[in-house]
Symmetry: C2
């Protein structure tokens, strides 16, 4: 996640057209004209530092955010003051949709490392959506993806064992690394163990033990924040996402 493209924070003008994250961000699949419109509304904020809040639950929701560099976590609080991390957001990924329901955010966003974001003012976004049907359609798809992603997390939290949860988490990260054209098998975790544990509904110690266990099995190598997936096939097998299982299921009907 600290991997790629160096971002020049001083460069204040944004160019979606030349952004390496275009394929993942709102402008996915847009033509030159549409890009220009999106570009005309996007604002850049000065970097948020590690542990800084990008926004807090209750803040007025005026933007949709896209991570440009770094990584951001989003979390909700319960009445007892405990928190549940609901997402880790990598460059090109969007956040802030939780606030579309009313005037204010229902979750908070905190930088896991020094990060920069692009801001899309909601009002302008509404306008371009209205003016350009393809952008309206893109927004609908983006929100649908968010819902589908959350459903996948409900499945993870509701039905998976600790080992399946961690395996799913690593596979998800790996996929997202690949989308960014970074190494899909070797990457840094930008979040502490505690955050991984919280996100997966586990205790830190359990996460630590699971990392050790997966390493013993030669499925991954871990050194502190560095992860190397040695055997993706067996990692997938843990969550049952492998050919054998699928074939067996298909046979049964």
């Amino acid at each position: 996640m600290t991997e790629p493209t160096q971002i020049n924070f001083d460069q204040l003008k944004v160019s979606c057209a030349s952004c390496s994250l275009r394929e993942l961000c709102i402008p996915q699949g847009m033509n030159a004209e549409e890009l220009k419109l999106i570009e005309s509304i996007v604002e850049r904020k000065k970097p948020v530092h590690k542990n800084d809040y990008l926004f807090r639950a209750g803040d007025t929701n005026r933007y949709l955010y896209a991570v440009l560099s770094g990584s951001i976590k989003t979390l909700v609080d319960n009445p007892n003051g405990e928190e549940q991390i609901v997402g880790f957001h990598l460059p090109g990924e969007l956040l802030g949709m939780d606030g579309f329901s009313g005037d204010s955010h229902t979750c908070s966003a905190v930088a896991l490392e020094t990060s920069s974001v692009c801001e899309f003012p909601l009002e302008s976004l509404d306008n371009v959506c209205h003016d350009v049907p393809s952008i309206q359609y893109a927004m609908r798809r983006i929100m649908g993806k968010e819902v589908a992603k959350d459903h996948a997390m409900l499945l993870l939290l509701g039905r998976m064992s600790a080992e399946e949860k961690l395996a799913s988490f690593l596979i998800s990260l790996s996929k997202r690394m690949a989308q960014r054209h970074w190494k899909p098998t070797e990457f840094n975790l930008t979040m502490p163990r505690q955050d991984i544990a919280n996100y997966l509904g586990l205790a830190v110690e359990t996460v630590s033990r699971l990392f050790a266990h997966l390493q013993d099995e030669d499925i991954i190598e871990v050194d502190r924040r560095r992860v190397n997936i040695c055997d993706m096939t067996r990692l997938r097998a843990i969550v049952g996402d492998n050919e054998d299982v699928k074939a067996a299921k298909a046979k049964q009907g």
Copy 2:
């Protein structure tokens, strides 16, 4: 949930203007003109019977659905064939947004009892959104609410004890009963214990024992599917959602 307004299934013409669920459904807060537009695109399907699928994961997504009567559950499957229920939908509530991300649904919808739904064809919906900014805005809010709701479920599944989960579930139902102007303290569960357990990430036996326990404590009365909440204050206290806790937190800052 089998409570209210009798719906005449033969009545093929839909009138959003006279629908008792208007306040909860897409037409919330719309003026006469906007209502007419929404009314012009909505279609009514013949009732779905208990255990019938309204749609399945993988089906082409052509509609946004609103429950008109009855109740519907939505669920996602994991690679092993287990399923996780991701939502119970009461009259006036919407479903199908998961499919906005692509062409097809990522979850399935099954009727818990004989139910009827209103269908909003996506294409027409896109059109009215484009023509009427206030409807576009309403749709954005609706999707934001969906995301916020899913975050609340992540918190429930990730951080709550079995008792807190069931208490949250009952409180949520109670609130939704109140929104529908039904009794908020006395209602029928339209889903079997097994579905409640699945939804909350618990075993059936645990749910059964928890109902018994809450009854012992005189917090609720349960008789099969019938629930009566006797002591809402103590029910709220279980999830920490009470004045004492809030006051204590406020004092600490």
